[in-house]
């Protein structure tokens, strides 16, 4: 059994089923992200694990102990909130030591732990400050230290980076991951930001409409999305419908072009399969080793710094591709005709809806 076991969880608010038969096993020390759009049920799952919401059905077990009926203050779980939720009347040190004081830790022991935690988050000299005297990033670091100080069994992070600006977000997510690995604490991270989820997690759970659409390592989630939703939510893709010509050989026809996808297909001969193509898998011009060539007309060019995103109309389908910026090569002009080279094995076969 997994260290944290979420077993057939259901949660309804009135007639609305927010979480539907959600099961997940999290190993000790693992960092799991719940990724999904607003209203997909990811925060509800987190709040049920924390004990703030009672499940309509199912069970939560931590290290073999059923905690479903326990109140939040009996679960020994740490949590970091989106809005920091630092106690305004307490100093940084008092905030960090709050959980220890509530647990009845000795004064010297608590002081040592607070010092250790402040060192861990890189703010050893700010113990005497009040939350209003800190920046957003510093406040969230303190919130992390406060959550970790009582040595919780599980750490829950509820969109902790959403309220911060882009640069701080990137640096803080690296810090959080580093601290998590250093302490080896089992962590569930809720986010709607795919970049955060992919860069920080051991595994990602992509949620939609209260169910887990796909659970897997970031590499698998991105490169082998199981459904159209996952392919669309995680990263950008161009969707194609192809007709199966030989399921065992993985052969299909796409707009009259024969391709062998490099994997056998579950669909029957003559059936339609959904294919997805990532922008980085398509190349401008003819490229050796990429046997499929699509001809189209450029309809949009977005210069994004290191990357240029080009959209070309290929037989009525808008194909998106990314190309690296080169200072000596300006982006192709809108309206020009281009060849787009693709390797058939780079097409992702999606499950039928």
């Amino acid at each position: 059994m997994a260290y944290l076991d979420i077993d057939h969880l259901e949660k309804s608010f009135g007639a609305t089923r927010v979480v539907k038969d959600f099961s997940l096993g999290v190993e000790k020390g693992e960092f799991i992200s719940l990724l999904g759009p607003s209203g997909c049920g990811k925060t509800t799952v987190l709040r049920v694990v924390a004990g703030f919401e009672a499940p309509s059905a199912g069970a939560i077990r931590i290290d073999g102990q059923d905690v479903t009926a326990l109140r939040p203050n009996q679960r020994n779980i740490g949590m970091v909130f989106q809005a920091y939720a630092l106690f305004p009347n307490l100093t940084v040190a008092q905030n960090v030591g709050f959980g220890l004081k509530v647990a009845g830790a000795g004064r010297a022991e608590a002081a040592d732990r607070v010092k250790e935690m402040l060192h861990l988050i890189g703010l050893p000299d700010l113990g005497a400050r009040y939350p209003f005297q800190l920046s957003g990033g510093q406040q969230q670091r303190v919130a992390l230290a406060r959550a970790l100080a009582p040595r919780p069994r599980v750490l829950l992070l509820d969109e902790p980076l959403s309220a911060l600006d882009a640069k701080i977000r990137v640096s803080l997510r690296q810090e959080i991951r580093q601290i998590q690995q250093q302490l080896g604490i089992t962590t569930i991270f809720v986010t709607h930001d795919q970049e955060e989820a992919l860069s920080m997690s051991d595994r990602v759970v992509v949620m939609n409409g209260g169910i887990a659409e796909q659970v897997g390592a970031p590499f698998d989630i991105y490169n082998r999305p199981a459904t159209r939703f996952v392919a669309g939510f995680v990263g950008t893709h161009t969707a194609f419908d192809a007709v199966v010509t030989d399921p065992d050989a993985g052969a299909v026809t796409l707009g009259g072009t024969q391709m062998v996808l490099g994997q056998s297909l579950a669909a029957k001969r003559g059936a339609t399969v959904h294919l997805a193509l990532r922008p980085e898998a398509a190349h401008l011009g003819r490229v050796d080793g990429r046997e499929t060539v699509l001809t189209g007309q450029i309809s949009q060019v977005n210069f994004m710094g290191s990357i240029i995103r080009v959209t070309a109309m290929v037989g009525g389908t808008a194909v998106t591709l990314d190309t690296f910026n080169r200072p000596d090569t300006p982006p192709p002009p809108v309206g020009s005709n281009v060849d787009i080279s693709v390797a058939a094995r780079d097409f992702i076969v999606l499950e039928a809806d």
């Binding site: 203050n73 909130f81 106690f87 709050f98 209003f132």
Partner: protein, 289 residues
Amino acid sequence: MTDSSLPAGPSPTPSVAKAAQTMARPRRTVGWALSWVVFILGMIYFALPLIGMIEFSLRKRRDAYSFDAYTSVIGDPQFQATFSYSVVMSVVTIFLGMALVLPAALWVRIRLPGMRPVIEFITLLPLVIPVIVIAFGYLRMFNTSSLLPMTGSITGTNILLAFGYATLALPYMYRAIDNGLRTLDVQALTEAAQILGAGWFTIIFRIMLPNVFTALLSGAFLTFSIVLGEYVFAALLDRPAFGPYMIWAGSNQAYEPAALAVIAFTITWGCMGLIQLAGRLFPHTRAKR
């Protein structure tokens, strides 16, 4: 390229700008003078009656200003007895009000946000229903021949009076506390404390109370002022409170009521000063201002 070769832009020349500035200056001076006139008129409107009352309270001695009226009021055993009684009653009322309102306001914010309009309406009722109606209702409900004969003993009547005062102060106490809670993310703070192992006692006394302390003080001082001046409840329940004493003094003496009014003003202003001071004493409340 030299500056002279630049095309003439839409910006005014220095001399035009200077002329515009010179025209704007008298307009600003007139506005400034007008605001001072309004301010001084306002001050006169509020301060003159007060100055007149203070001056009158000092004229008990025929040929000179003196504090005779104040000495007479403060030395009056009845003043001392009624004032002390009302102070004790206000302290009891303040604690009673806080004990009722703080958990209720917190609960409404966390668990029953949809009930807020209903609770606000209930707390406003004492402002709409005349005090005499509430007082008669109490007397009818708790008289000696009722199921709960609270008016049958002095302690029972005092308790009844404290509850009556708490009802009168409810609109002010609720609003003060609710305004204090509005400045906090109550839900997140409560959940943060709970997940760290805290129970409701710790949440209320270690987190919520210190953060709404200034708001609580405002509610407390408003309650104090209401209790000190309240007449109907105390008179109908026949308790020796300060309100009935002020009415009695007003109808039987000349200079003492003015002195009493000045004392009451001083107490109110003192309370306001204390609220300000309390705000400065707590470092975390400094950030909110």
